[in-house]
Assembly symmetry: C2
Homo-oligomer: 530 residues x 2
């Protein structure tokens, strides 16, 4: 709709703020649902095209700057993010209803994530340098000199999530890993936190300027589904990073697969993060587990990709007591404001589907409050899992979990075998349990990206060894992670040089090894020069 808003939020394209459209989006206060003042101009078709063109133009320059310079750029982004100030924090809280401390913590997580990728660039192992030197005398044919290293794929489109307006959004893990890889980025701002996105995009653009990088290195457009589709379909986009719902993620995968030139999509979509409570653990510390699990189910109003939505345990009197305990914990949890009306509505629809299902029983409901999400605990019959009914497998995004009781270990194994792919799988177990449960570990390994022992799935550490990925539908490609430094590998591809002279070779492949990399030289890992 054409309007005359107080202030205009324009798109970030090639270092400029532009917006020729009269169509605008508004952000709302997540608590009051009041529309906020600023209008954000939806990018026109030609503006989306211009954003991608800018990224494409920046690519050859940006990917070829030294990894040291790219590391400095990520450090400067971190500084600019931390300099955003109180006004920014206030706006992020207002748009998402997330607590102040959470937003402050998430900002630090986001800036430190940039710094962590800077250390990856300085370490240099992401280059994956491999050298096989020539054997001119080899018979029957001489062996050429072959040297391989990784380069960035090209411009990457990033779609942020609503539940982490900083760490999984404009400057989140997808953007950080793509920029680290040498890929310029075009972000489609999430409509749930437009103000927040504008601040963050501004910070990144300042860093681009301060580091004198090509102006198209980072771009951001405002818009809805059509804008995202145009981005994914643009031939110059070479990969997509997405965090969000299974429906939206799959739609993007399908779109990308239908392009004349299909491109990889890394979509983190849907997980119910099964928690298996084993008999001895129940026996020894069932009450503590009930307390801790109730917290993991409800923290942040359950709005985490790794929220535990399914609990599996073997029938026993201890389990009955545990369920009673857990139900009590859940029933005492306060209702919380959710990220936005859409999220609340989806949560309520998910709850309603469970409530009317003949094989599902409500065990407990937390405190209620207008326009808020209440904690819920359900119980589902084993046959629901055994028969492949989707009701317990579909993620209900919010503070809700479903218990499935099984008769014995064999049924537990069968239940796990029926699970779809997951981000995480958790065992709550005593050493005794583990001795007899090796098969559960093997089973979980095949279903998930991260297996947890005696912890809870919420809380995802940003580090080298993190895997925040997993078989479909947890993600669209289980070989990637969207948290941790391994995320950079999604946006890299190898290029091999055959018989190029040393002076023309890129630094990681030169004889003298000027970057001091560990390289695979003639089959041996070594740091020495050739």
């Amino acid at each position: 709709m054409s309007t005359t808003p107080d202030i205009i939020g324009l798109n970030f394209i090639d270092g400029k703020r532009v917006g020729e459209n009269s169509t605008v989006l508004y952000s709302v206060d997540a608590v009051t649902k009041q529309r906020l003042a600023q209008a954000f101009v939806v990018a026109s078709v030609s503006e989306v095209e211009a954003a991608v063109k800018a990224a494409q133009k920046a690519y050859p320059l940006f990917r070829n700057i030294s990894s040291k310079k790219r590391a400095e750029f990520l450090d400067v982004i971190a500084q600019e993010l931390e300099a955003l100030g109180d006004e920014f924090i206030k706006v992020a809280v207002q748009e998402t209803a997330l607590p102040l401390a959470r937003i402050q913590g998430e900002l630090l997580r986001t800036s430190n994530q940039m710094r962590l990728f800077a250390t990856v660039l300085r370490r240099g192992d992401f280059y994956g340098a491999r050298i096989d030197t020539a054997q001119p005398q080899r018979a029957p044919l001489p062996k050429p000199d072959l040297r391989t290293y990784n380069i960035g794929l090209g411009p990457v489109a990033v779609f942020g999530a609503s539940n982490f307006p900083l760490a999984f959004s404009v400057a989140g893990g997808d953007t950080a890993s793509a920029l680290a890889a040498g890929c310029p980025v075009v972000v489609k701002a999430h409509p749930g936190h437009l103000y927040t996105s504008e601040y963050v995009a501004g910070a990144i653009c300042k860093a681009v300027e301060r580091c004198q990088l090509p102006s198209g290195t980072f771009n951001m457009v405002f818009g809805e589904i059509e804008t995202g589709e145009a981005l994914v379909l643009n031939p110059a986009i070479k990969a997509v990073g997405f965090t969000g719902s299974l429906r939206a993620g799959r739609a993007i995968c399908d779109l990308a697969a239908r392009r004349p030139e299909p491109i990889p999509v890394f979509a983190e979509m849907s997980s119910i993060n099964p928690v298996v409570v084993l008999p001895n653990a129940l026996d020894v510390r069932g009450d503590v587990i009930a307390l801790q699990l109730a917290n993991s189910i409800t923290v942040g109003c359950g709005q985490f990709c790794t929220q535990p939505g399914l609990i599996l345990a073997i029938k026993s009197p201890e389990l009955d007591l545990f369920i009673e305990n857990l139900a009590k914990q859940i029933s005492e949890k306060d209702a919380q404001t959710m990220l936005n009306s859409g999220v609340l509505q989806n949560y309520e629809m998910g709850v309603a589907r469970l409530e009317i299902h003949p094989s599902v029983t409500l065990l407990a409901k937390g405190r209620e409050s207008a326009n808020s999400g209440s904690a819920m605990l359900f119980k589902a019959d084993f046959k629901v899992l055994a028969e492949g009914d989707a009701i317990v497998q579909e993620e209900v995004f919010g503070p809700l979990s479903i218990i499935v009781e099984v008769e014995d270990k064999d049924q537990l194994t069968l239940a796990i075998s029926k699970l779809r792919g997951q981000l995480t799988g958790t065992l709550l177990a005593e050493p005794e349990d583990l001795k007899t449960s090796a098969i559960l570990i093997t089973q979980l390994e095949e279903k998930v990206g991260r297996i947890i022992l005696n912890g809870y799935p919420t809380g995802v550490e940003v580090c080298d060894a993190m895997v925040h990925g997993g078989p479909y539908p947890a993600t669209s490609d289980s070989r990637g992670t969207s948290v941790g430094t391994l995320a950079i590998e999604r946006y890299l591809r190898p290029v091999c040089y055959q018989d190029y002279p040393d002076e023309v070779l890129p630094e990681p492949l030169k004889n003298s090894n000027p970057l001091g990399l560990r390289r695979l030289v003639n089959g041996i890992q070594t740091e020495i020069a050739i």
Copy 2:
């Protein structure tokens, strides 16, 4: 058709030879086109299902054996392949019309490829082990212990190519890398070399037995398109390796993307392998280049993925002389028997499309012979490339190349920018040329998987630093290679262990580092124990 053939070739499923169907396939003598005696039974729907089930059942066991044991298995496969004997070599020659020496060489390449992957397993870097140790005292939240390594994706479907009946087929790079990764394999035998496939499958099955591995570790089915489709659509198949045409490869990609659970497909499909001849090189050694290039165009009747199908050069009197030379070379080349009638027919159709195109001129045709492929040299107007006409971009599989003359360096840059993704890009250049052509290297890097200087694209070394991949349509995923040890990474995904005790952790992640791996521990690459 139901028949009573002399001998029956059955499918290889779970260590048994089975075939309940009455539908059979026959192989033909590639020279005489005579049908060979043995009938090969097309796998029934339930047999395809059984093959995948066997692979699925083998997976937890096979992926969990030590990498040392898996290395031994690959070594035993190599032994069994080399023990196949003269009868086998004779049959492979008969089915493909490839020269005896070529088949003998390809067999060694194939067995050595198995041994090379065995060294990768013994080296252990494919595990990608990463460890971040716990910080229980960290505030505000303790840091858990996180440890990540790579596991095989699950059962892999392999579709071999007709042009390398050994190195890119039943025991080729896709099978070798999948088995190395710990993924059981189901091969669909290529209809162009059924006998050869049967011999090779028998050798692998012997190795499975000798190493006492699960009988479903390797399976092979006979069939046509429907058999392949059933394989790709089976939910237990977790990845696909394919080498062949763009049409078939893209169809498999589309099928895999439409599955309820989409899976990665690594299809190596189509490349015209541009060769750029720069002015000083033309000047100094145009005659030698003409000779060598003519050989690269026609070797093996041009039936190589890396056959140079496009030559780019700047107009000059030297270029005129070079073209004259090259045309003469091509016109003197003998016709050669192609792999099969289908390949010859496709080649002739490709030639016909070029002959009738108004902007394409025939420069030379090699000697002719009945039922054989003659070498061909065409010239196309620059505008064909500039205007994006597919005529020069579509691979014509066979001994054919197209020269495109450009006016100057700018037009050369424009021409390269118009190219689709390629397996290789070659510069023929003197040092002088390189000094002024840095941009060409950057351009080629973005278009191809391997850039070659003063060599020819045919001849793909099997080694650590090889990249036989590239942007679409060269392959379906430029992040993979189908030749060289990096190929293993296509079939691996990371799994993270959080807070598991040392005795439960897999060997690559144990504190004592029993495998002696180089691991990334708390951000530092180290071989020491924790």
